[in-house]
């Protein structure tokens, strides 16, 4: 592997890899390694801040033979550096991390090729976890508790929702984006619109797929509670929740949220799926397949075969043993024009087949840097 393949060619190979592994069964370790190393070589050459990062670590593509050895950039780095192989004129879209006016957001640049690959990647794994019964083609209604992409063009989550809702779900009673953007950049749920959509689905007897960040679900449930209303969504209805609360609603434990969803929307816990994703990644992890029996123990997130997660020791950078905790690194083949290997800054416990998310490593990144010390007090209070 001496010659660097054009990124567009690599993207084609990644797409083929996704197609042949999307059922989650065929794991082609050799092909994954080959693609990962080729991406590393190309990105090392074309993403300048990343190349410097690798050089400082003394790691280059020539001597790297395992995908696990590819240096992972911190996701935070997308805020400060242009981690992209795209020239400015090639960038048609940029996704930001959920930013507020006081934070500098992440910037993940996309061109037509990378957007297409993003959609292939996110679609395949979403379908496998949210629509394993191909319910999207048979009358399912889709309610996203987010703005649409006209209002939130820089949200990778919104882009994802637009991409995963089947074209066949057309018209305002089959698909709905029920939130608007506040002047501060935050999202506000259009509760009336969302509730109207859900009531119509109940009347029609059509199942609903609800999509949104956890805080939006909380807002929806609060609206139902305020009206003393409990819906019984038709059989086959399901819900995807993602992300934390980021101070946008009161914090609810996962267990409490799920019980609340069951109580107010009539969606049983087996039909609630957690997603883990970020604007810096082209692939996402899920912790459950809609409709399957829940397994014992904590929810375990799994990336697709084209995105491998490792939980690494903060001390040594080596992968921790199963059951131990560390930082999440994701090696995501769907990141072709940016950087494949990303360290997310999230703390997780390793399982044999994935990881349990324990939260964000405290005091890192935007939260740490922007909070006043009074909010950051750990055990070190008092003189």
């Amino acid at each position: 592997m001496n010659r660097t393949e054009p990124l567009a060619d690599l993207a084609g190979r990644v797409k083929a890899f996704i197609r042949c592994t999307a059922d989650g069964v065929a794991l082609c370790e050799d092909e994954f390694t080959a693609l990962a190393l080729r991406l590393f070589q190309a990105q090392f050459e074309q993403v300048e801040p990343y190349r410097r990062f690798c050089l400082q670590r003394g790691v280059g593509p020539e001597a790297t033979t395992r995908w696990q050895s590819v240096p992972a950039v911190p996701a935070e780095g997308f805020k400060e550096f242009e981690l992209t192989a795209l020239a400015p004129e090639e960038r048609v879209r940029v996704f930001h991390s959920s930013a507020t006016s006081t934070h500098r957001p992440s910037r993940h640049f996309h061109g037509p090729g990378s957007l297409e690959l993003y959609e292939v990647s996110l679609g395949a794994w979403f379908e496998r976890h949210l629509l394993p019964d191909a319910a999207g083609e048979t009358g399912m209604r889709f309610l996203a508790l987010t703005p649409d992409s006209t209002a939130a063009p820089h949200s990778s989550l919104v882009h994802m929702f637009e991409a995963v809702i089947p074209k066949s779900a057309a018209g305002p009673d089959r698909r709905c984006f029920a939130a608007r953007v506040n002047p501060d950049g935050g999202w506000r749920l259009e509760a009336k619109q969302a509730l109207g959509f859900l009531r119509n689905a109940v009347d029609a007897g059509d199942p609903v797929c609800l999509l949104g960040p956890a805080f939006s679900h909380v807002h929806l449930l609060e609206a139902l509670e305020a009206g003393g209303e409990a819906l019984r969504l038709p059989m086959g209805s399901r819900l995807m929740e993602t992300g934390g609360y980021k101070g946008r609603s009161r914090e609810v434990s996962r267990r409490e949220l799920h019980a609340w969803i069951t109580r107010r929307l009539g969606i049983a816990p087996e039909w609630i799926v957690g997603e883990y994703g970020m604007s810096e990644l082209g692939s996402q992890a899920y912790n459950h397949v809609a409709g399957q029996a829940l397994r014992d123990g904590p929810p375990v997130f799994r990336f697709p075969p084209w995105g491998r997660a490792r939980v690494i020791s903060p001390d040594t950078g080596d992968e921790v043993a199963p059951g131990a905790t560390g930082l999440v690194q994701v090696f995501d083949l769907a990141n072709v024009w940016s950087v494949m290997a990303v360290e997310t800054g999230d703390l997780a416990r390793r399982f044999d087949d994935g990881f349990e998310l324990l939260g964000r490593a405290p005091a890192t990144g935007p939260r740490g840097c922007s909070l006043m010390p009074s909010d950051l007090v750990g055990k070190g209070e008092g003189p």
């Binding site: 400060e80 903060p314 001390d315 939260g359 005091a363 840097c369 008092g382």
Partner: protein
């Protein structure tokens, strides 16, 4: 050493605390105060406290030994860090320092015993007596043991019954200290209670606050606000919110002669209590224009941190702490690779210590655990501008400056709002008479009774 279950927090697993139990304990404490504490002389109390502190300095003192055996496990510090912290603290408690504290805060030691006139009072024809609160409640927040031990000493000097409510898992050393008092003065120890519970238990806290005449509280600003709201109106409130501290080094100190000493002192401040106290430096502002650039200071500091690690290792970090450190290091690594003046030094194969050099004077809270940035600045003005986000919250500045420049710098910091300036190397060792956050810590507990003499008619 077996300790009797004397304080509420002594009971393994914790007793079942009820509001009634708290109320009863407070009433007993007040009775014991009347019987055993109110009429003690200041000299007697000073002698006692100095003796107990002196005992703690002995390596085979059983209370100290127990603190060193159990402390690392429950507090997260290495034995060596705890050892050094206890030495520094008890070394500062002597008869002289206690007398200096009392004299500073009340004018004369006898004024805590009987009405007495100072020179100024004589002029005005009055005498005055300082009286401590009947029941002093301490609500402590952090894991560092010296603030609660200081509080107990101040409470004794004020002749107050004391109920100390510690945050979960933090009472060990204060409890051992109280036991060591009990060994030499059991009746005095009967005026002290120590309990642990998770903050925010409103029924317990309501019972406690209802009995309090004065409350001292340290902790998060939100915790303090919530407590204060629940305090009955007549009780007094003395709170210490979260503070940050920094180091400041002038360019004159960056010479081959001064540098080794100054970085050693700086490393000592970072290592003390694993940089988790309000008095720990969260950044060093270093002036450019010296013989060596500030980057040189950072590199030398990294060397000093590594040396310190060998004799006083950092405590083993909790997983989330280690992850926070690793994540922060990674972003600095990326910056260092791409920005010419950002550099990173770190303990190899561990998260024990981290030094970064960055040309960004803006203050950002450190994650503690011996992770410290060095920030070059042109002068004091630039440093103060960078510190603006925490103005009003800066406690201590550890200063490395030549004599002729000290006054100018101290005045500048003081007018800006800093309440304590000390030489580098002593940031976590304030003298007992330290004015905590700029206020007299004993004086703030006391109320004065002024006696205007009737002799004139």
């Amino acid at each position: 050493m077996m300790l009797p279950d004397y304080f509420l927090a002594d009971v393994p697993g914790g007793p079942v605390l009820t509001p009634q139990l708290v109320t009863d304990a407070c009433i007993t404490l007040k009775q014991n105060r009347t019987r055993h504490l109110v009429d003690r002389t200041t000299a007697e109390l000073i002698e006692l406290l100095a003796r107990v502190a002196g005992d703690w300095l002995e390596p085979d003192n059983p209370f100290r030994r127990r603190a060193l055996e159990e402390g690392p496990g429950v507090m997260g510090f290495s034995r060596e860090t705890l050892n050094a912290g206890l030495d520094d603290f008890f070394g500062s408690v002597t008869e002289e320092s206690l007398r200096a504290l009392v004299t500073q805060d009340v004018g004369h030691p006898h004024r805590l015993e009987r009405p007495l006139a100072t020179e100024q009072d004589t002029h005005e024809g009055r005498r005055a007596l300082a009286v401590g609160p009947e029941l002093l409640v301490h609500v402590t927040g952090g894991v560092l043991p010296n603030p609660p031990m200081t509080s107990l000493m101040l409470g004794l000097l004020a002749r107050s019954a004391q109920f100390m409510k510690c945050a979960r898992g933090t009472s060990l050393v204060p409890r051992l200290f109280a036991h060591s008092l009990r060994e030499v003065a059991p009746k005095l120890a009967a005026t002290i209670e120590i309990a642990e519970w998770r903050g925010g238990d409103e029924p317990l806290e309501a019972a406690l606050l209802a009995q309090a005449n004065c409350v001292t509280a340290t902790g998060r600003d939100t915790t303090l606000a919530s407590l204060r709201q629940r305090l009955p109106v007549p009780a007094r409130w003395v709170s210490y919110g979260h503070r940050v501290s920094v180091g400041y080094v002038t360019h004159e100190m960056l010479s081959s002669r001064m540098l080794p000493e100054i970085v050693q002192a700086a490393a000592r401040d970072v290592a003390a209590w694993d940089q988790l106290g309000c008095l720990s430096p969260q950044a060093f502002y270093v002036e450019s224009g010296g013989r060596f650039p500030p980057e040189h200071f950072a590199e030398a500091l990294a060397g000093a941190m590594e040396k310190t690690e060998r004799v006083q290792p950092a405590g083993p970090p909790a997983p989330e702490t280690a992850a926070a450190i690793a994540a922060r290091r990674r972003i600095y690594e990326l910056r260092a690779a791409n920005l010419s003046h950002t550099r990173l030094w770190q303990s190899p194969g561990s998260t024990a210590w981290t030094v970064v050099h960055e040309e960004d004077p803006d203050f950002k809270p450190s994650c503690g655990h011996r992770f410290v940035p060095v920030k070059p600045v042109a002068n004091l003005t630039e440093a103060l501008k960078g510190l603006d986000p925490v103005r009003g919250q800066v406690s201590t500045v550890g200063l490395g400056a030549p004599g002729p420049r000290e006054t100018e710098l101290v005045t500048g910091f003081a007018r800006w709002g800093v309440t304590r300036i000390c030489p580098l190397g002593r940031m976590q060792i304030p003298p007992l008479s330290w004015r905590h956050d700029g206020r007299p810590s004993l004086g703030d507990l006391l109320l004065w009774c002024d006696w205007e003499s009737s002799a004139r008619w």
